[in-house]
Symmetry: C2
Subunit: 734 residues, 2 copies
């Protein structure tokens, strides 16, 4: 069959998507001398050889995710893609035969298939329960087809294209406009699937649909999918380019959050790579000022010290830059984005590369020792296609990472979590964002899909470290309302490594109430480690109930207030998440400051917060009304206050350590002896922190005019404060 | 002061406890060429140099453990010991000066001290709240004194001995017979403290007290300490030798369990080392057939794959062979116990050695590459001074470790946990023993001491994976009763790596009821991994309630029975531990088999158990009636049955895996499709396990005559079974 190999059917030839003819030659010439590439190749070869031994199985579709037919078809497309690549690199026809035979089996099955028997999706596929997974299949299978294209006979290609690829592409596009014509990670996959196969087949009409969407779709504005996301909004642009334009901010932040950004990176980048090869005139990597490549850097910055993504919005905890999508992202960004040596250190940790031109570039870079540490610094990332819809601020100081979310709604995967934050230390969660309520691909848990607790718990405001007013979620928990708004950055300043600070306001979550939160990490030599200052200013003309939780982990060490534990546990409320919280204890402040300390992963933590005498202090635990044990039993410390305007000012310290091996407890007590709001009006808020050694620190923030260059003047208790900038931080003598 | 250095006051000379004159010379000659020793020396030097910079502080005793004066005096004795060693090895007088000055400060303070102001202990110390810690101080300080003995003037020695060491030794012995004259880890420390200083001072009278206890003590039989342990029992032998004789079984198992064995190892072994040097005629390392050195091997075997000790009885989780006591134990056992190369691999992991003769031997062994992996195999360890009071059986198969406890009471640190077990996989707990309820040395938590929940929860039977009858703990929770009894080994057989099995009976925990539990790990090619078979036969003539928990970790995946979650949580009972369990859900079996599966640390687990239609299936969680949040909120699956005689037969499978990075769930379902007790009488019990592929396995155990050599004959459902030995395991055709 070697003569087929030279049967080039168009000017450019194949492969041309993620591999190129010249790239393949270069790879072959280096094989055996590029350790990380050679190892990746060997692992892939072992996997595919074993799979070929097992034989091909293309079952009749039946199951939800997690079930056998789902898992088998998913594995098939992954195997197809890898076998195609092996054929190109190793020149061994057995891989081409495997790809051809499996594709032929699909070509035989596909025309017989009705839509998938499972009815859960707003856009049911044929191989899978949703078009999304069918699109995954086509994105990968297109690459396999590209790899054996020239090896196949014209008749074989005709069969595959007419019986499989063209009807497949038509079904997920024209057949499912509610899926294809959106701005959403689903449609990105759909667009890319059609675009990839269009590039292989040199099919201009399909490529046009992929890039710019269907011309007509007969969809009604306001339609929603089964996750509650809008299918069509007024003035919606569609197609792949719209899916780059809209969800990415100019900073490369993807509005659905890092978990879905990770998921979407693969189709974005493989299609960009393919377009770069086949349609270089599109200059896809320069599109929107190079946002696709920039977003890889952004995504890495949205991970903790272990590389785990911050679980903003619907995010599964534990997903990290070790995922296969990030191997693609890092390799492509390195190769097409100017060979940033910091990316090589991530690739080194991933310990595998793509078996293509970009993987080769990375392998060579590592071999030549060009890697530099990826030094994650504090960063502020705008949200919104124009970068003017709030954002996410990440403060980093020594081992601490603070993630402050003041972004837009984040499409259908967004949570009602305005001005919420989470805190990490050395890759461990200190104050958590719960993430999603789903066990992705575990069939026993609701077919591996979103659980109802995702809506009743994970998305609700009370599940987050922010204010819930009157036991109602932000925007009344209404997606239509939340989607119209976003928080506003007040200021962000990380220029001084001793005082890093971010401040944002939210005026729409609760009409009539303004939330203004400022978070700082302060690295001060009078404290053992950097500490967090958290100032939540709430302004309202009406008296409201404010619930302000801190979702900590681990064992309570000590509080400075008395609390009672009930003999029977009752839920904290009836709905919007409260029904899922058991009230484990309740108390009242015994002084102007409340302290709450705990031990987790061998470190001590203390929150010191200013309190009102009438505050309720609630110790809660997730897990009520959870009839299938879908929720994790994790605790919260909640400050409940009835007030009009009020300030929650807190210092969060990490201190000391405990080892069960040495059994020694070092620095087990926090070092804040007193915390006071010493000034607070519409123009300025000042907090005073005194430590156990009598050192006094004052942080003043400008609540207005934070960005002007004029000097601020302020008198507090007969002392004058003058500074330029949005805040000042000073040490005074008692 | 160099002339003092040669002022040898007795024939043998000093140092002679853990260092010897010749050993010091050998060390000096090797310095710089023994990496692990050099690094340990460097680390110690850095620590002591920094401490000397800070200056000496010998505060007036005031605090409980965790408080400043406690921590300071504890740190002082550790510093003294290390500084003494540095003086010997480095020949730098500043270390001798530091030791002398601190000891002189103690000599000045000690005569002025009343008993410690904290009144919690049955034997209050002077420097510390309990004589135990005073004894720690003397064990370490004796070594420091030994190191500078010859450097001191006669006058200085007289002052130290007359004002400090002799009154100190008298106080913890004659002054506290209730502490000194026992068999307990407390008195071991007391005996060794007196013995060590006696050896330095060449004080025969004190040495005799140390070895053989006080001749008269005026203690009453039946007295108890503040932990509830007996101080004096009828016919009690006392002193160090009695403390070797009694708590150690011939297999080297220490009856209080591994956590306390670890704690006691240090005084046992340093005193043994010192006796070996100064009184070689005692042949201490050969005493009781070499049990002291053997026990080091035993203790390492009582740890999981990470080296963490199984938390039997009062054990703090996380304590491991990385502790300083085990550095001592491993080095001493290597040097004086025949240079077992497997110990070198543990020392390598510890990455530090003692700065003495045995540390040098280990460092040289490692340098010469003599280390071999410490291959922990299945092992059965007898309990009781004669090895006839039950024991602990540990079964190991691939990544699984099963710990079956059928031992004696374990003195005052024992739990009411007859025939309980715990299960580990790759160093992670699968089915836990709760351990103790205490945050050792964390002052905020009850002064770092035992919490009341240790008695109300951790010791109670319901806190363990075993049977609780009629909501009463074993022996009625009475220490006096439990101390009279132990379970009996029925058989243990790990000769066949495919079927490893241990079986024991308990007839005293509940008079009138016999508990007979058999646990096996079976590695069968028809299953993905080894699985556990658990057969608990209960025989009683009365109808009882049996509660049978499995304390799992992680997220419930699926059950084959329906359960209801209540809208309010109530405790499961009123006392003996039940008051601490919330009843989170309750259900009934829907078939002859109940299945319960969960996910933890990326692995799936399934329990399949034979059920009665009237069983109550309870999902519980620890944490009720916990007014200070001392307990961990961890779950249990409890089978509750009302019956006379009954069998709980279960298979516990670990299967598959889940990664939040690949998001793929592999082998997420257990593979047992049916479990039946197909034969059960006083002579034999047979269980039949069918897997999802229709493979049928039968395990038959002999309930009597398990150890005889005759052939067993048995007919079950018209099939004949013949075998020799305590059990048979066969595969049959359906
Ligand atoms: Ca969230
Ligand atoms: Ca226990
Ligand atoms: Ca571990
Ligand atoms: Mg918006
Ligand atoms: Mg992490
Ligand atoms: Mg006994
Ligand atoms: Mg472990």
């Amino acid at each position: 069959a070697l003569e087929k190999y030279n049967d080039q059917s168009d000017s450019q030839g194949h492969p041309s998507l993620i591999l190129t003819k010249s790239g393949v030659e270069k790879i072959k010439s280096q094989l055996g001398s590029i350790p990380i590439f050679d190892a990746s190749l060997e692992a892939t070869k072992d996997e595919i050889d074993a799979e070929i031994e097992l034989g091909i199985d293309v079952p009749i579709p039946k199951d939800l995710s997690g079930g056998y037919t789902h898992a088998r078809h998913k594995r098939n497309f992954l195997m197809l893609q890898k076998a195609g690549v092996l054929f190109q690199i190793l020149d061994n026809e057995k891989y081409a035969v495997y790809v051809r035979d499996m594709l032929m089996a699909y070509a035989k099955l596909y025309p017989t298939l009705p839509v998938h028997p499972q009815t859960r999706s707003y856009a049911r596929g044929k191989l899978f329960w949703q078009c999304l997974n069918d699109s995954n299949w086509l994105v990968y299978s297109s690459q396999a087809y590209d790899c054996i294209f020239e090896w196949l006979s014209k008749e074989e290609r005709d069969t595959l294209e007419n019986d499989l690829f063209i009807p497949f592409a038509n079904f997920i596009s024209e057949g499912n406009p509610q899926f294809f014509n959106r701005v959403h990670n689903h449609s990105t996959w759909g667009n890319v699937a059609v675009g990839m196969i269009a590039l292989v087949m040199d099919h201009d009409e399909l490529l046009e649909k992929a890039l710019n969407g269907l011309k007509t779709d007969n969809l009604k504005v306001g339609m929603k999918d089964n996750d509650g996301g809008f299918i069509k909004v007024e003035g919606q642009k569609v197609g792949f380019l719209a899916n780059v334009d809209e969800p990415f901010s100019p900073d490369g932040y993807y509005t659905e959050g890092p978990y879905y950004q990770r998921y979407a990176m693969y189709p974005f980048l493989v299609f960009a790579e393919a377009l770069h090869h086949v349609k270089p005139e599109l200059k896809i990597f320069e599109y929107k000022e190079g946002v696709l490549l920039k977003s890889v850097n952004t995504l890495i910055n949205l991970s903790d010290a272990d590389g785990e993504f911050f679980p903003l919005n619907d995010g599964q905890k534990g997903m990290s830059y070790y995922s296969k999508e990030l191997v693609t992202a890092v390799d492509v960004a390195y190769h097409y984005g100017g060979n940033n040596p910091e990316l090589l250190s991530i690739a080194k940790k991933q310990d595998r590369v793509l078996l293509n031109d970009s993987g080769l570039a990375v392998a060579l870079g590592i071999k030549e020792g060009k890697d530099k540490p990826f030094d994650k610094k504090s960063i502020n990332l705008s949200d919104g296609s124009n970068g003017d819809e709030g954002g996410v601020g990440i403060l980093r100081s020594k081992g601490l990472e603070l993630v402050f979310k003041y972004a837009g709604q984040g499409l259908s995967h967004g949570h009602y979590d305005k001005l919420s934050f989470s805190l990490y230390e050395e890759g461990e969660e200190v104050l958590q964002d719960y993430g999603l309520s789903r066990f992705v691909n575990i069939e026993q848990k609701g077919g591996g899909n979103y659980l109802k607790e995702n809506k009743t718990w994970a998305k609700q405001t009370i599940a987050h470290n922010t204010i819930t007013q009157n036991e109602v979620s932000h925007f009344g928990g209404k997606y239509e309302v939340g989607s119209k708004h976003h928080s506003e950055l007040h200021f962000y300043d990380a220029t001084n490594p001793q005082v890093q600070i971010v401040s944002a306001k939210e005026t729409n979550a609760y009409p009539g109430t303004q939330l203004h939160r400022t978070l700082a990490i302060i690295d001060d030599e009078d404290f053992e480690k950097p500490f967090v200052v958290d100032i939540m200013n709430v302004a309202s003309e009406n008296k409201n109930q404010y619930d302000f939780p801190y979702y900590y982990f681990g064992q309570i060490m000590k509080t400075n207030f008395e609390y009672k534990v009930p003999s029977e546990l009752k839920p904290l409320g009836k709905s919007i998440g409260y029904q899922h919280l058991w009230k484990e204890a309740e108390g009242m402040p015994s002084s102007d400051n409340v302290t709450f300390s705990w031990l987790n992963h061998g470190k001590f933590y203390t929150i010191t917060t200013t309190s009102d005498a009438t505050d309720n202090l609630i110790l809660a635990r997730i897990g009520a009304k959870d009839p299938e044990f879908n929720l994790r039993r994790e605790p919260a410390f909640i400050i409940r206050r009835h007030a009009k305007s009020t300030t929650f000012a807190s210092v969060i310290e990490s201190h000391g350590n405990y080892s069960p091996i040495s059994e020694s407890a070092v620095n087990a007590y926090g070092s804040v002896s007193s915390l006071k709001v010493i000034y607070n009006n519409e123009n300025y808020t000042a907090v005073q922190i005194e430590n156990v050694n009598g050192k006094i620190k004052i942080l003043v923030i400008a609540n207005n005019d934070a960005l002007n260059k004029n000097e601020h003047h302020l008198e507090i208790k007969n002392k004058e404060y003058k500074w330029v900038g949005s805040y000042t931080y000073i040490t005074t003598i008692n």
